[in-house]
C-alpha cells in the first residue's frame, strides 16, 4: 500500500466520521454489522461458519498427501477429536488434477468446483467438542477462466504468438547448423552454446513481453470484467457436537443451506439475491429452531470501488420477523486490502431498532 493510501486509512479511522459513529453508538444499541450480514453471502468454507468461532489456522492442501499429513498432525498420535482442526479443499482436482484436461473440466465444471470443508473445535464454555462438515459449489460461474470461451480464445492467440517465437528461435538454431536435439539435451560445444545464447536474447525479450500480455489478460479478466458476471452458488453444512473428545454422545446441532444468485448489467451494476435456511438446536430446550433469511443487494461501480444497498428479511420460528435496510461501500486500497464502510438499520420484531455500522479493513482479492 502506498503512503497516501495509508494516510487515508489513518485519517478515516480517526476522523469526525468515526466520531459521528460513536454518537450513534450512544443513541442506539449498536451491534456488529457482520452479525447479520453473514446470512447473505455463501461462506467460503460453510463448515467453519457453523462453528462458534472461525478457526484461525485452516489447512488448504495442494495434494491428497497434504491432507494425510494435516490429519496426522492434528491427531498428534491419538484417535480423539482434535481440539482445533480445519481443512478446506476441492476433492476431485486433488485426486485427478494431474491428469485433468481442460476439455474434461469443461464437460463437468460443477464437480470440479465443488469444495469440502471440515472443522473440529473444543468449546470450553459448553465442555463439548464440535464437528462441522460443509459442501459448496458453483452451479453457474461465468467468472471461471476455464469455462470462458472469450478469455481462452484470447489466451490461445497469445500462446500461438509464443509458439511462433519459439519456432523462430529453433529455425535460427538449425540454420546455424546446430542440432536442436543436442540443445534440448544440453550437450553443446562451448562455441555452439555461445551462438545459442546469443540467439536466445531476442527470443527471450519477445517471450517476456508476451508473458506480460498473458498476465495482463488474466488480470483484466479477474478485476474489471468478472465481478458482475452471472453466478449461482449453493452450499450446505452441518454441525455435530459430542460430550468429549472421544466422540461419545454425538448429536446434530445445526444444519444450514445457502443459495446465492448474481447477475450484472454492463460493467457497472450487479444484483445479488441470497437466501439462508438454518435449523439450530436451542441450547436450553434442546429443540431445533428454524430460521431463514432472504437478502437482495444492488452494487454500483466497479470491482475495486463500489457502493451498495441491501434489504434483508429474516423469519424465525416462534418469533416476529426481523428486517434490515443497509448501505455501504467497498474500496480496494491495494491489491488485497479493502476499506469497508457499512451502515444499516435493523428492526427485530416490534423493538425500536438498531443502528449497525462497520468501518474496517478487510483482506481479499
Amino acid at each position: 500500500m502506498n503512503r497516501s493510501l495509508a494516510c487515508l486509512v489513518a485519517a478515516l479511522i480517526g476522523s469526525p466520521w468515526s466520531a459521528r459513529t460513536a454518537t450513534a453508538q450512544y443513541a442506539f444499541p449498536l451491534v456488529s454489522a457482520d452479525t447479520v450480514r453473514k446470512y447473505f453471502a455463501i461462506p467460503e468454507a460453510p463448515a467453519f461458519s457453523l462453528l462458534d468461532a472461525e478457526p484461525s489456522r485452516i489447512l488448504r492442501p495442494g495434494s491428497a498427501r497434504d491432507i494425510a499429513i494435516g490429519i496426522v498432525g492434528a491427531l498428534d498420535g491419538s484417535i480423539d477429536v482434535p481440539n482445533s482442526f480445519a481443512v478446506e479443499f476441492a476433492p476431485l482436482p486433488l485426486i485427478a488434477g494431474d491428469r485433468l484436461t481442460l476439455g474434461a473440466y469443461q464437460a463437468h465444471p460443477v464437480r470440479y468446483r465443488t469444495r469440502l470443508s471440515f472443522a473440529t473445535q473444543r468449546v470450553k464454555v459448553r465442555a463439548r467438542s464440535q464437528i462441522a462438515l460443509g459442501v459448496r459449489t458453483s452451479l453457474l460461474d461465468e467468472s471461471d477462466p476455464r469455462t470462458s470461451r472469450v478469455l481462452l480464445d484470447r489466451l490461445r492467440a497469445l500462446l500461438e504468438r509464443h509458439a511462433r517465437n519459439d519456432d523462430s528461435l529453433e529455425a535460427r538454431i538449425e540454420a546455424a547448423g546446430i542440432n536442436l536435439l543436442a540443445v534440448d539435451r544440453g550437450s553443446l560445444a562451448p562455441a555452439q552454446r555461445r551462438i545459442v545464447d546469443s540467439l536466445r536474447a531476442l527470443h527471450d525479450a519477445v517471450e517476456h513481453s508476451l508473458n506480460t500480455s498473458f498476465a495482463n489478460r488474466i488480470k483484466e479478466w479477474d478485476e474489471d470484467s468478472v465481478w458482475n458476471r452471472r453466478m449461482l452458488d449453493v452450499a450446505v453444512a452441518a454441525r455435530w457436537s459430542t460430550r468429549d473428545s472421544t466422540a461419545r454422545g454425538l448429536r446434530s446441532d445445526a444444519w444450514a443451506a445457502w443459495l446465492t444468485y448474481g447477475t450484472g448489467y454492463r460493467r457497472w451494476l450487479q444484483w445479488l439475491v441470497g437466501t439462508r435456511v438454518a435449523l439450530e438446536r436451542d441450547s436450553l430446550t434442546s429443540h431445533h429452531v428454524a430460521r431463514s433469511a432472504l437478502t437482495t443487494r444492488l452494487y454500483l461501480g466497479a470491482n475495486r470501488y463500489k457502493v451498495f444497498g441491501e434489504v434483508q428479511g429474516e423469519a424465525r420460528q416462534a418469533r416476529a420477523p426481523a428486517w434490515l435496510l443497509g448501505t455501504g461501500s467497498e474500496l480496494a486500497l491495494d491489491r488485497s486490502i479493502w476499506l469497508v464502510v457499512y451502515a444499516g438499520w435493523r428492526r427485530d420484531g416490534s423493538d425500536a431498532g438498531q443502528l449497525l455500522t462497520r468501518l474496517g479493513l478487510a483482506l481479499g482479492n
Partner: protein
C-alpha cells in the same frame, strides 16, 4: 525452458501395430504443442511429419507415426509444449503418451510449478528394440549410440 535432458527410451515391437503419439496436459491448463519426428538424435527431421496447434482433447491430439512401425526404430519424437497457467493453479503437467495399436507402451510425464505466466516444456522419446532398453541403474546420463 523445462524439459528432459535425454530422450526417454520407448521399447516397441517393430513387427507390431502402428505407433501413435498422444500429447496432452493436466491441471486443466491451456496450451499449444509442436510435435516433430527425427530420424535419430542427430537431428534430421522426418519430412512431412510435423503437427502443431492448440491442445484440444487427448484423442484429437493423437498422431500416427509412419508405417510400418519398424521404420521408426531409433527415431526420436520431440514435443514442445507452451502451457499458459490459469489461476488459481501454478502447477502444470505435460504428457507424451506413446501407443502401439490400442496399447500404451510409454507414458512420459513432466510436472512443474510455473513461476511465469507461461512455460515452455520439451519432451523427447526415442524408439528402441525391447532388449535395448537399459535399466535405470545402467542408463548413462548422456548415452546415445547414434551420436557420431
Amino acid at each position: 525452458m523445462a524439459g528432459m535432458r535425454s530422450p526417454a527410451q520407448i521399447a516397441f515391437d517393430p513387427a507390431g501395430d502402428p505407433l501413435a503419439v498422444r500429447v496432452w496436459c493436466g491441471h486443466a491448463q491451456v496450451g499449444t504443442y509442436d510435435l516433430r519426428l527425427y530420424h535419430s538424435t542427430r537431428g534430421e527431421p522426418v519430412a512431412g511429419w510435423r503437427f502443431h496447434g492448440p491442445l484440444r482433447t487427448p484423442e484429437q491430439d493423437t498422431f500416427v507415426l509412419p508405417e510400418p512401425a519398424g521404420d521408426n526404430l531409433k527415431r526420436v519424437v520431440r514435443c514442445r509444449f507452451r502451457i499458459g497457467v490459469l489461476p488459481p493453479d501454478r502447477i502444470y503437467t505435460t504428457y507424451v503418451t506413446v501407443l502401439q495399436g490400442p496399447r500404451i507402451i510409454g507414458d512420459l510425464e513432466q510436472r512443474g510449478e510455473a513461476t511465469d505466466p507461461t512455460v515452455s516444456v520439451v519432451m523427447l522419446a526415442k524408439f528402441v528394440l525391447p532388449r535395448a532398453v537399459p535399466t535405470s541403474a545402467s542408463l548413462p546420463a548422456e548415452s546415445d549410440e547414434d551420436e557420431p
